[in-house]
Amino acid sequence: MVLRDWGTMIHKEILESFGHRRFLTVFALAALLTGVLPVLSLAHAHAHALGGNLTLFRAIYVLLAAVIVVAQTAPDLVLHERVGHTLDYVLTTRLPDGAIFGAKLVVAAASGYAAALLALAVQLVLTALVGHSGWSWLFLALPMGRVAVFGITAGLSVYLAVVGTFVALRIGEQRTAYMATMLSVGVIIAPFALGWLTLTLTTSWISQAAVVFGAVAVVLAFVGLSLLRRERVVLYLQE
């Protein structure tokens, strides 16, 4: 029964998101731009031999697609319900708290992940066509690329979905909520920028980082869902 409630809410969120032009535009633009831009830069890559960093270079674009889409979608799923007072309605139904807010996290994170995979597909196809070197350019062939794309993107999408949902519940203003969610990526980058952690471009290091980050994101999602209780949200909405 609980799964059915989650299904009800997820179905509604998908129906609303994909019926909304803004969501579709952001999704398509993010996937296309992050798919096309690194391949256009590839012409330079031939000349300047980015070498081993090429995989990371492309993976960053894939991650960027997830960041852009989740940072828009997660706050939007909450904000348009706040503005339209549908959140007030849904809180008066028999749906459990977990389903109401969990569905938003799932749909926001899945949207970002889907956009990242689409960006990856665009990169692969364009690389094969533009590079004139067949499918050997598929950076997925490198284990580091696989881990970065599939593992870290998933963790990043979940992390941003949790942050975006919370931010939108506390900040009712759309633009501020988008910016705050986007800037939360800085929390992940900060330890590297401050020299507390060192980025090492090895498959082993990237794999471990993906596992740790994924675990942190999942724990964050569970903690977030346990905090998102009706009584608390009603008081947020009343403020």
């Binding site: 019926g19 339209g84 549908t86 309605y89 008066t92 139904t93 028999r94």
Partner: protein, 307 residues
């Protein structure tokens, strides 16, 4: 009619230093239409939120359909249909999709859901617009859709917060007729409304709330009539004010030899007439004056119109 759908004892809720609801005692029998009246900030919405378990009481107790909304919130909400003052329909979905979502929330079987969605679209006169996005709907159409959504689960208790707010007269009549037909089906309704005339027409019982306190509760025709006009009297002879009248009764002169009698006990007009006749004053006519709910409301709330 014996079973209570809502029962509150000393129900209170405060937010910081602000006391939104103070010691509410209320009983709503099954099958009745209860009207909850009061100006903005009186505590009506807080009461609705307490009834459906969205807020916990600061003090006192509340039972809805015999259950505790805080401890059994899911079960209470499953058996209540709620329409808030901000109706909150999904703009990006069509009218039909809105109701289909409500049907899924109510865990209806697919076939039952289809039948009920169709029936409710017909009932609120939105069948022809069922495939239109709600973003293009007028306020009245949204209210009707919200009402249909609240009825989707065939609730035991319908809680409506200002269902006619902002509607044009034709839609007010439509909503009122719908509420009357629901009342005839013995559905229990808890109705917060601004429209006193509608409350007088629809409700079996009304309660008047101000600043978190229940000022009066009773049938719309009899609630809080102490000190309100009971009748006009056509007198002949001396000044009626010199006569010793029953306790709580008072006379004030009108034009043309007529007097208005106000009373604390509406049934004692005969005693007033007897006292006047005994004092040698002729009573040529007694014209009962009906007291509207609006007059009662304004007297109790102190001149603030319903917000």
């Amino acid at each position: 009619m014996d079973e209570l759908v809502v029962e509150c004892h000393g129900l209170s809720r405060s937010f910081g230093n602000h006391q939104a609801l103070a010691g509410l005692d209320l009983s709503v029998p099954r099958g009745s239409v209860f009207g909850f009246l009061g100006p903005n900030g009186a505590g009506k919405t807080t009461t609705v939120r307490l009834l459906v378990g969205l807020l916990a009481p600061s003090a006192g107790s509340v039972a809805v359909l015999g259950m505790d909304p805080v401890g059994e919130g899911g079960r209470v909400r499953a058996r209540c249909g709620v329409m808030l003052d901000q109706v909150g329909v999904y703009d990006r979905l069509t009218a039909q999709q809105n109701l289909e979502f409500a049907a899924r929330v109510a865990r209806l079987a697919p076939r039952t859901a289809r039948e009920r969605v169709d029936a409710l679209l017909h009932r609120v006169d939105l069948w022809d617009r069922r495939h239109d996005n709600v973003s293009g709907f007028s306020k009245g159409m949204r209210q009707k859709l919200g009402l249909a959504r609240a009825l989707m689960s065939e609730p035991d208790l319908l809680i409506l917060d200002e269902p006619t707010a902002g509607l044009d007269p034709a839609n007010i009549v439509m909503v009122r007729d719908l509420l009357v037909s629901l009342a005839e089906e013995s559905l229990s309704v808890f109705l917060c409304t601004h429209l006193l005339a509608e409350a007088q027409r629809i409700c079996d019982t009304v309660g008047i709330l101000q600043a978190g306190r229940l000022l009066a509760v009773g049938a719309p025709g009899h609630i809080g009539q102490q000190g309100l006009p009971a009748a006009r009297l056509a007198l002949s002879g001396a000044d009626g004010r010199a006569v010793r009248l029953p306790s709580g009764a008072a006379l004030s002169p009108l034009s043309g030899g007529e007097w208005r009698v106000t009373m604390d006990h509406g049934d004692d007009i005969e005693a007033v007439v007897a006292a006047l006749v005994q004092a040698g004053i002729g009573v040529r006519a007694v014209i009962p004056e009906a007291v509207s709910l609006e007059e009662t409301y304004l007297k109790l709330v102190g001149g603030d119109g319903p917000a």
